[in-house]
Symmetry: C2
Subunit: 162 residues, 2 copies
């Protein structure tokens, strides 16, 4: 009983921030997304690519499949805004964002309670035996905080004059 | 076993963002805290008061005592930046922040596994019987996302010229 409750609590928070952020991206025009969250800082477009890249890599991290758009990793995680971002159209990034989140959500929905407590793929079996909290569910807790972090930044674009 | 793990995972994430944000506030001079996270948006000082107010109210929400600084609620939650903020000195706000988090952390450390799954004080017993996920632990999940949200914004003050 409590076990199911835990999964629900963690996934509810994930879906809540996922939805809030998705709603915000939909409210923003392509022009809005070219604005920086603060002078000299990332654009909304960069953060759209960044969140897509991080969520895409959750597929292999959770052992749920391969990343759909592996080049995003270099272009929106390793490198900052500027570099390769101009090679992506905003409409493509919007499409990747939706596709990655749908694929990830469908794959996550197949996991059983026991599977949520299995190790993720970035930790060895040895290390996991000593640190059993480094499981799939913990990835969701951490990635929810990651969305919330950038959601707070994206809000700054709303109602921005220029 | 898994039950203890769950508490650890949720509290680890809370403490991680609590520490990251605390480290950031300590790096910032009082002058840094007067800067806005983006033009026309909240100052670091306001967010220091805001996070303190929200954490202070977690004491009654979790049934762990009364808020230490109840006036912060109106001044840093109900009202935006501007209004009453000038009546607080930054050094007082820094002190409240540390005191509230220490008090809250000590009180949280006394809770047992079962107590984490009891209802928080903002939900009635009736509603809780239908929505058992609205427990104390869920408050921590949500408040961790709240810190992460503002942490992402506070980072924008770092290395800001003016």
């Amino acid at each position: 009983m409590k076990e199911q409750l835990i999964i629900k609590m963690v996934l509810d928070a994930w879906h809540q921030y996922q939805k809030r952020t998705d709603d915000l991206f939909r409210q923003f025009s392509d022009e809005d997304l070219l604005k920086q969250i603060a002078p000299g800082k990332n654009t909304g477009k960069y953060l759209l690519g960044h969140l897509t890249a991080v969520h895409d890599r959750m597929l292999p991290l959770l052992g749920l499949g391969q990343a759909l758009y592996p080049t995003l990793h270099d272009d929106f995680e390793t490198r900052g805004d500027g570099g390769q971002v101009k090679n992506y159209s905003t409409s493509d990034l919007r499409r990747y964002w939706t596709e990655v989140n749908t694929t990830l959500g469908n794959a996550m929905a197949t996991l059983t309670f026991e599977q949520w407590f299995e190790r993720h793929t970035a930790i060895s079996a040895d290390d996991f035996s000593r640190e059993p909290h480094r499981n799939r569910l913990n990835v969701i807790i951490n990635r929810t905080n990651h969305i919330a972090w950038h959601y707070g930044q994206l809000l700054l674009i709303r109602n921005k004059e220029s």
